[in-house]
């Protein structure tokens, strides 16, 4: 989780990712942020986020995104 927060902080240093739950709905992350995020996640955690998982629910908070990464890691 800390590693994920570090990646997110690198995109927007001024966001408190421990508490934020509206990263997408609140327009904090835009589509290009999501794209670079997904490629960083692929590099760091060795998981591929495919199209069906790219929905706001999975990106609205660091926690939701971390759960997705764990789920994808389990599947492999």
């Amino acid at each position: 989780m800390d590693e994920l927060i570090a990646i997110l902080k690198d995109i927007h240093p001024d966001v408190d990712y421990e508490t934020a739950t509206n990263l997408v709905d609140g327009k904090i992350l835009d589509s290009f942020d999501i794209i670079s995020l997904v490629s960083e996640i692929a590099d760091k955690f060795d998981v591929v986020v495919s199209a069906e998982y790219m929905v706001p629910e999975n990106f609205n908070s660091a926690k939701a995104l971390w759960e997705l990464i764990e789920k994808l890691q389990d599947e492999e």
Partner: protein, 503 residues
Amino acid sequence: MHNHVLKDLKNTVSKFPDKPAFCGENSVLTFKELDHAIDRIGTFVLSEGIKKSPIVVFMEKSPEEVAAFFGIIRAGSYYVPIDAEMPTVRIHLILENVKSPLLICDDSTFEKASELGFTGKIVKYSEILSSSEIDDAALTAVYNSSIDTDPLYIVFTSGSTGVPKGVVGCHRAVNDYIDQLSEVLGFSSETVFGNQTPLYLDACFKELFPTMRFGATTYFVPKTLFMQPLKLVQYLNEHEINTVCWVVSALTIISTFGTFKTEVPKYLKTIAFGSEVFPLKQFRMWRQALPEATFTNLYGPTEGTGMCCYYRVDRDFEDGEAIPIGRPFDNTEIILLDDENNEVTKENGEQGEICIRGTSLTLGYMNNPEKTSESFTLNPLQKHWPELIYRTGDIGRYNERGELMFVSRKDFQIKHMGHRIELGEIEVNAQMIEGITGAACVYDKVKGKIVLFYSGDKEEADMKVILKDSLPRYMVPNVTKKLDRIPLTSNGKTDRVALSGMI
């Protein structure tokens, strides 16, 4: 005969009165409704005593915003689009440059508009439309006195000195552009556009003007769908969208994440792209998913009213090859000039600056004679009468097939996520931050990231946060690196080679 961009509108309205023209997330305007709104806004502008003036439009991306643009044109004035996405600092620079007497906003932007210190009148779109009075006689008189070198818009593009440049475009150039583009891409009343590009740039002309001319339909694809590739494709299918003119990065969002395995945008027949290099791996996925569709690479600067060259993909490419920018549209000439202003021919295979000659040239930069005369110059190949060309700053060459290829930039302009950015503009804004002693930007082409090197007493994370206040989101550096000092070459210039080695 009048060569006015609205010349086909009444004809389209009589053919397709109740057909949707523009469809947004929250509203739809049919051609009849659009026409009424345009005439109403035109009447309002004239009733304010405003003639041939820049009028600011600050609205949410919507069918109504298009009606505001066209309504201003109807009144013989020209629109200046600004957007909530732009930082306030940038909006101020634009307002200072154009000195407009009127700003049209909507409920979503009214508050921000009121805080801009705008010196003209601010009016809401809904207020204008609350009356239905239309002054046909006044509108007709304006139409009849218009000429096709009158301006109709000013859109702002990144400037290397830190101040954005306002490109002024006219009827004649837009009509010529839409003639050529429509022929190349085959637009008709059957065309259903899915628009991706923002309305505050020239990129949206590809949808706005043909929709009105042919009685086509444009859907404004909701921005949030560009992070949800599967839903994006479902949206295209739901609305049976058959034509897209998108930046490459918007297309690759679909192909990268394996979307085609689940759903294919099956109605798409015409795919035009540009502004960036299309990675071949992604491009092949698209062609494989849509073998019947046509793929066209478009190339052109804002100063040439939009696009000026095209290449319809007709063959496969080897790894490492680039997709050509092809050939100029009819009625446009491309000249390649070397450093001594000599013409580079197809035969000699050299490189040269891509220069544009023809009707599609815009009028120049608003209130900026220095920048205008630097780029809009006399044609050095023809000295018998004054003839302007636009020097793009792009370096090109012809390949062995005689197709034009993009090689590089002469300066520090980049294309990042489909946006044209002067790295100098980022540097100037970084240098203006208190405590910063030096700043230099380089573009990491491999990763597609803007890297800012700086020296001074700010933390790396803080730099991004501070720059968000003065730069549009797409210009904020992706990576900030603090150095003791910016490396210089032996003649005292920023050593970009050294910096590139540090990314």
